[in-house]
């Protein structure tokens, strides 16, 4: 079984995020700075190990169960209908619909005939089951096509036997096998029991459709859970209700690393509706179980009331003292010093010496919280040494491993039911909440639903790390970019390497495209955990490099579009999983053309453009904004051109892009968490202002449907938004903002 522990998850996300293997490989070329003592702890040059991922095809199962044709884990057909299984967690990226569409296409089923169910967790049958890195489509595309095609081939074989004709004389269409010359037709449902008795051909032997014959892929298909959502069905983790279930909450120290000295448990136990209250010591792994006080009650409200009445004495000697204001001060000092080089190509010093013009800029971005709308929760039942979990997690396999460890049983004693997740954005790659639920259920001796409040969620997130970049660049007489230096200051949790999403890699755009590039990396020690957040790394690097390219175009007095295309250069593939500059240039030109790049906009209005490559997606975005003298920004329109290979579900794809643009805007304008004395200063939505409808711009989406392998769309449309808007604001106002969120420079959305 392919399993992942907590630490590996970060590697997986980094690794499957196209082209970021090098971020891991180079992550140890770094200087580590301890904030409170202001000293170097270590500086090393060794190269760390990467992580191999298996992209294995699922094993064939036996063709049949007693009553159904089930050639593999994905397809079940009997007289009652066609069921397709969705293997991965649905977190809003649409895979519960898009993955079965791929199966249905090759099965040649009519979409209306199909019903979709969430699969069990069985990594032997399904390979890795997780949601992260926009990987579901690229990792499963081939296997799912073959799963559908295998079932189709067997149904054809069954019909051939029944009619005593050759398989070559048969075709399929909309859940039927057809013998054209005799006019015979048989529904898949009627052939299922005969197909079930046939041997399963090897998945490699079946033939796949030509893309031009696709009936389902590329069409607009509405989400399979849409109606259930509208009827209020119990689809999400938070909706689960199991027999005998009680309601639990868990209070940890406001500052991560604090442990419980004492608590007013006796008083709490007398409160209305409270059934039990106890201390858990934690298991020493912040990704699993931290110390805290659990309360079990008859209902959520009683549990929350009791939590508010808790009086806990904490030992904070080991607890976080993280301070964002200290980090900013330290970065201000460090930006003047050079650090170890992650990248050093060409001769940057000479490029600067020989240049005509140079420009510098100090960029800063804050920490951010995932704020998935469904606060963490998990339902757990521990009985007779067996654990059952109903969990809204992005990594069910890892959730099983870690929960088993926490309750002291073998992983095969854990059953995990996948539920729909009310947003993920990377938060649910980590399974602290499932471990807590398991531990509380075991200790309380009854099934519990553990509910985090929003305050718990924001205090115990794994944040998108903040960061600082002292940029310096140059252009020559002809206005060509000659030198590029990025002095990057990031954060480390383990004192060895940057946090997940906080390590820069040599091929971060425009690495590999410019001749003279130097990137230096320093990390500040940080106790509050940081990890993957939608488009890790890219979500902040795009802001910096996409803006700084525009700064260079500006000092060269050139059109940003021309400079961007010049940087991309001739069409070529950069490394096996790197970008293709031709695809990049295509989307850049398309976005510019559709947005009407270059047209006269009038005073106080401007357009900005940015391109970014991440998660194997090539995306360009153009923002059209007006800015008033008091820094009110009206985003009129965002035009997106995307090349992610063939589109699986046009409706879902467009929704992901529009949502990414709005999330990008929300994040660049207002989202920041800060820390003082180890404590998060923003603990609910009143101080963490997600974008609301009146600020949502028009978003126009154009897909370039290329023949390249498909990729996912949960992430790659996010990164280019911020630089496109920062650049547009500069064009409109003449002011270069270099801080994210931009509200920290006084800007607000109209």
């Amino acid at each position: 079984m392919t399993t992942l522990n907590y630490d590996d998850i970060a590697d997986v996300v980094d690794t499957v995020t196209a082209g970021r293997e090098d971020a891991i490989a180079t992550s140890s070329r770094i200087r580590i700075v301890k904030l409170d003592r202001r000293q170097f702890l270590k500086m090393t040059g060794a190269v760390g190990g990467g992580l191999m991922l298996s992209f294995s095809a699922p094993k064939a199962l036996s063709a049949s169960s007693s009553d159904a044709f089930q050639p593999n884990g994905y397809v079940k057909i009997n007289s009652a209908g066609i069921v397709l299984y969705a293997k991965n967690p649905e977190i809003g990226q649409g895979v519960k619909t898009s993955l079965p569409m791929i199966i249905a296409e090759e099965l040649d089923a009519a979409w209306e005939d199909v019903s979709v169910e969430q699969s069990r967790i069985d990594q032997a049958a399904y390979g890795m089951q997780f949601a992260g890195g926009s990987t579901a489509i690229p990792m499963n595309w081939d296997a799912l096509r073959r799963a559908g095609a295998t079932a189709r081939a067997m149904l054809v074989e069954a019909a051939a036997k029944r009619w005593n004709v050759s398989t070559d004389s048969l075709t399929t269409e909309r859940s039927h096998v057809i013998h054209a010359s005799s006019g015979k037709r048989a529904a898949y449902l009627d052939l299922a029991s005969e197909a079930a008795s046939l041997p399963v051909p090897s998945a490699d032997s079946v033939s796949l459709k030509d893309a031009k014959n696709f009936q389902i892929l590329g069409k607009r298909i509405t989400g399979v859970d849409n109606e259930g959502l509208m009827r209020g069905e119990p689809l999400f983790g938070i909706d689960q209700n199991v027999p005998g279930m009680k309601y639990a909450v868990y209070q940890k120290c406001d500052s991560i690393g604090g442990s419980v000295v004492s608590a007013n448990l006796d008083e709490i136990k007398t409160m209305n509706g409270v059934l039990d209250a106890f201390v858990l010591d934690g298991n020493g792994n912040a990704g699993e179980l931290l110390p805290g006080v659990a309360i079990v009650a008859d209902n959520t409200w009683s549990a929350i009331q009791a939590k508010r009445a808790l009086k806990i004495e904490w030992d904070e000697s080991d607890a976080s003292k993280d301070s964002w204001s200290n980090a900013m001060q330290e970065a201000e000092r460090l930006r003047h010093e050079s650090g170890p080089r992650v990248v050093d190509t060409g001769d940057v010093d000479k490029a600067f010496d020989d240049s005509t013009k140079q420009v510098s800029g100090f960029y800063r971005y804050a920490f951010a919280s995932h704020a998935q709308l469904e606060p963490e929760n998990c339902t757990a039942s521990f009985k007779d040494g067996q654990l059952e979990l109903w969990a809204p997690t992005q990594t069910p396999g890892a959730a099983i491993m870690s929960a088993a460890k926490v309750v002291g049983i073998q992983p095969n004693g854990v059953t995990l039911h996948q539920t729909r997740c009310g947003g993920g954005f990377g938060r649910r790659l980590y399974n602290d909440f499932t471990c807590e639920a398991a531990a509380i259920a075991k200790r309380a001796g009854m099934p519990v639903k553990l509910q985090w409040t929003r305050e718990d969620d924001m205090a115990y997130d794994l944040y998108r790390a903040g960061g600082f970049h002292q940029m310096h660049g140059s252009v020559d007489e002809g206005g060509k970019i000659t030198g590029w230096r990025d002095r990057f200051i990031t954060f480390t949790n383990d004192g060895n390497r940057p946090v997940s999403g906080g390590g820069i890699s040599p091929n971060v755009f425009p690495g590999g495209l410019l001749e003279n590039v130097r990137v230096e990396q320093t990390a500040l020690e940080w106790k509050n955990r940081c990890a993957a957040w939608r488009a890790p790394g890219s979500n902040v690097f795009a802001f910096v490099v996409g803006s700084f390219l525009h700064e260079l175009a500006h000092i060269a007095s050139r059109d940003h579009l021309d400079v961007l295309l010049e940087v991309l250069g001739e069409a070529r593939q950069l490394g096996p999983r790197g970008m293709h500059t031709g695809r990049a240039a295509n989307v850049v030109k398309l976005a510019a053309e559709k947005a009407g790049w270059g047209r006269e906009l009038g005073d106080g209005r401007g357009m900005g453009i940015a391109f970014y490559y991440s998660h194997a997606g090539h995306i360009a975005e153009v923002a059209d904004v007006s800015v008033t003298a008091d820094k009110k920004v009206d985003v009129h329109k965002v035009t997106v051109a995307a090349d992610v290979g063939p589109i699986v579900n046009l409706s879902g794809a467009e929704n992901q892009v529009q949502g990414s643009v709005i999330d990008g805007l929300s994040t660049m304008f207002n989202l920041a968490v800060s820390f003082e004395n180890g404590r998060v200063q923003q603990n609910n939505f009143d101080r963490y202002s997600l974008l609301r409808m009146p600020s949502a711009p028009e978003v126009e989406v154009h897909f370039v449907e290329s023949d390249y392998p498909p990729t996912g769309l949960g992430e790659p449309a996010f990164p280019p938004l911020a630089p496109a808007v920062y650049n547009a604001i500069f064009e409109a106002s003449g002011h270069r903002a270099r801080t994210m969120p931009i509200s920290e420079e006084g800007y607000s959305l109209a």
């Binding site: 009827r231 209020g232 009310g422 509910q451 929003r454 929704n655 999330d663 939505f685 609301r692 409808m693």
Partner: protein
């Protein structure tokens, strides 16, 4: 305590009268379509109708319901079981991403259309500003409100 929900009288027994309507719905009555997002009237995931107004049930004590009529997402469908025009527009336009905010969005839209059956874009934006969609589906929500409004107008 008794309250009227989705056309039925429901007994809440000896419930703490301060219990937010949200938790009474979810934990006591098993009506889990109404969601918890923030607990402080910020996100609108918990929106329900009290009479015809959209209310944040996380911050509305169950004792304040009194004789009013509460409608949740479970009670919105037509009497024949069909989705109502707002729900149907949400399905057809494929609004949801994660879907977690959407029952609250639908209740807010329903409240808007009950008082203003033909809202302008600006009125839609202002009315729906009470509800956060973390996934950013606002563009489709806007379209769905308009689609529902035109279906309602056509059926009159």
């Amino acid at each position: 305590m008794n309250i009227k929900i989705n056309g039925e009288n429901r007994d809440l027994g000896a419930i703490d009268p301060q219990t937010p309507l949200l938790w009474a719905l979810r934990d006591e009555l098993g009506l889990v379509g109404t969601k918890f997002g923030c607990g402080i009237s910020q996100c609108g995931a918990c929106s329900v109708l009290v009479n015809n107004a959209s209310v944040k049930s996380c911050s509305f004590p169950v004792s304040s319901v009194g004789d009013a009529e509460v409608t949740t997402i479970e009670g919105l469908a037509e009497s024949n079981g069909d989705l109502n025009p707002v729900q149907q527009a949400w399905v057809d336009l494929d609004v949801a991403q994660c879907g977690y905010c959407q029952s609250g969005q639908v209740m807010a839209a329903e409240a808007l259309l009950r008082t203003n059956p033909n809202p302008t874009d600006d009125e839609i934006d202002q009315a729906m500003a009470t509800n956060i969609c973390r996934c950013g589906t606002y563009i489709r929500i806007r379209q769905a409100v308009k689609t529902a409004a035109s279906h309602l107008a056509a059926s009159e």
